[in-house]
């Protein structure tokens, strides 16, 4: 990957990486750290990364960084007190169902959450998600099915779905 391709990747994918991180971490600063760490790691290996694979590599790296942050924050107990800050530049559709869905998303295990986010936000196929999350496609499919059931159950529990 050339420097130009790398900089193009910054333009194209940093928003998605930031969104991916902030949906997991619910904290702007932590999400920003993840984005910077992700691109720093990708830059270190940019000569070995093909330009066509950079998006997958970015999300894989971001996912690993997110899990590291979650483990670290949970150990220190901060994650429980993290205020649900949303990025100032976020533009969540003002639909109740979506807001509740965001909350429901946070009840999912991280791997299911990642699979759903990559599927719904980034439009990845099962194979691509499997590549990013280092699973196989069947596992991803199962996780997504389980996640859908959990989301539906959550929304139904709070009487959003009638």
């Amino acid at each position: 990957m050339t420097v130009k391709e790398y900089n193009n990747a910054v333009d194209i994918y940093s928003d998605g990486i930031y969104r991916f991180a902030i949906k997991h971490l619910r904290n702007e600063m932590l999400a920003d750290d993840v984005v910077q760490e992700t691109f720093a790691k990708v830059w270190q290996k940019h000569e070995d990364i093909q330009g066509s694979k950079v998006k997958s590599y970015l999300f894989t790296t971001a996912y690993t960084s997110i899990l590291d942050v979650i483990k670290k924050e949970k150990r220190s107990g901060d994650m429980e007190n993290v205020s649900q800050q949303q990025a100032g530049s976020s533009d969540i559709p003002n639909f109740d169902i979506q807001q509740h869905l965001e909350q429901a998303l946070n009840t999912l295990p991280e791997v299911q959450k990642s699979a759903v986010l990559l599927r719904d936000y980034e439009g990845y196929s099962y194979d691509e998600i499997a590549d990013i999350l280092e699973l196989n496609a069947s596992q991803v499919k199962v996780y997504i099915f389980r996640a859908r059931k959990s989301l539906k159950a959550y929304l139904k529990r709070i009487d959003i779905l009638v």
Binding site: Y6, S89, D91, Y121, K141, V142, F145, K152
Partner: protein, 340 residues
């Protein structure tokens, strides 16, 4: 033999019923002698593992989804929304939900559990970008050339006595000869009385104004000194040099080869000590002007005259500036050298 040090090994086998029957009597005798080592009867019972079961085993299993025909109705609905069914399978699901209100509701619910991508803008992209490391060889070469030129100019300027170039106003038209100069050569510009002499300007037109001829030895130091040839600038005697061409901003410099008596632009490089000596010499022989040629002019004359052949040199002083100080400009044909 069972002792207090090794009794535990026998005791554990005894409690578990694995002790050799031949040793049972010996162990019991030992415990009778050492009742403090005897454990409670429920000792082993306390070690039994409690019944703890992990209830989320299904979450750990990675079972592939069953084939469509073996899927539950709920999974079929999810698969429908996931878009992973064939066209015929989709029709099957649609027919299925049409037959059951409950399935229709479930279908509608699953339709709503898809996240709509929110727009997020990462505002620090600039910090993430990198710059290419490009070696600009042409630029480096240009810098190197500039530094070289600067060094050369400074080299000349750094010779303070060169600033004391001399214009000698001679009392007669005879070039200075046999002047003893002990050290090196000097670019002496001798001012010669030449009333009525015609002067050639750059364009070759005749002019009765100041005519300045430089008679400069063709060789370097040794030849200049040994051959006793002094470069000269000739001007009319009654006209003050400063009031003439130089004061007016333009001095026509025309060099003359003393041997061939032809005009050739040829400026000899001078050295510091030579300049001082020559100043003294010129003081003895006539009038002079200190700082007549700044070192940069001296340098330029030396360098450019080699490439211009017989073209006359024009030294142009910036108006309203002190003579030979500050800005000046040299024109040789289309070539122009300017110092600001």
């Amino acid at each position: 033999m069972i002792t207090r040090e090794n009794y535990e090994l026998f005791y554990m086998d005894y409690l578990e019923g694995d002790l050799d029957p031949a040793l049972v009597a010996e162990l019991e005798s030992f415990l009778a002698l050492h009742p403090d080592l005897r454990v409670e009867d429920d000792f082993l019972e306390a070690l039994e593992a409690p019944e703890i079961s992990y209830t989320n085993k299904s979450a750990l299993k990675f079972e592939s989804l069953p084939a469509f025909d073996q899927m539950s109705n709920e999974d079929k609905i999810i698969a429908y929304h996931e878009g992973i069914l064939t066209e015929s399978q989709c029709k099957t699901v649609e027919q299925l939900i049409a037959t059951s209100k409950g399935l229709q509701t479930s279908f509608d619910h699953y339709q709503q559990v898809y996240l709509k991508p929110a727009t997020f803008t990462y505002t620090h992209k600039g910090k993430l970008k990198r710059r290419s490391t490009i070696i600009l060889w042409p630029a480096l070469m240009a810098v190197a050339a500039s530094l070289t030129m600067l060094f050369l100019f400074n080299n000349d300027i750094s010779q303070p006595e060169i600033q004391h170039a001399v214009l000698v106003k001679e009392k007669d038209s005879t070039p200075i000869q046999n002047t003893k100069v002990e050290e090196e050569e000097l670019p002496v510009l001798s001012v010669k009385e030449e009333n009525g002499l015609e002067k050639k300007d750059i364009n070759g037109t005749k002019d009765k104004n100041t005519s300045v001829n430089t008679n400069i030895a063709p060789s370097k130091t040794d030849s200049l000194v040994k051959n006793k040839v002094i470069p000269k600038i000739t001007i009319p005697q009654e006209q003050n040099l400063a009031e003439q061409g130089i004061k007016n901003g333009i001095a026509q410099v025309q060099t003359t080869d003393p041997k061939s008596n032809t005009s050739t632009p040829n400026v000899q490089e001078g050295s510091n000590s030579t300049t001082s000596k020559a100043m003294n010499t010129s003081r003895q022989n006539g009038t002079y002007l200190e700082n007549a040629l700044p070192p940069l002019v001296d340098y330029a004359l030396t360098k450019v005259s080699k490439k211009t052949g017989n073209k006359p040199l024009e030294i142009q002083k910036e108006e309203n500036k002190p003579l030979f100080k500050g800005k000046f400009k040299i024109k040789i044909g289309s070539l122009e050298l300017k110092k600001n």
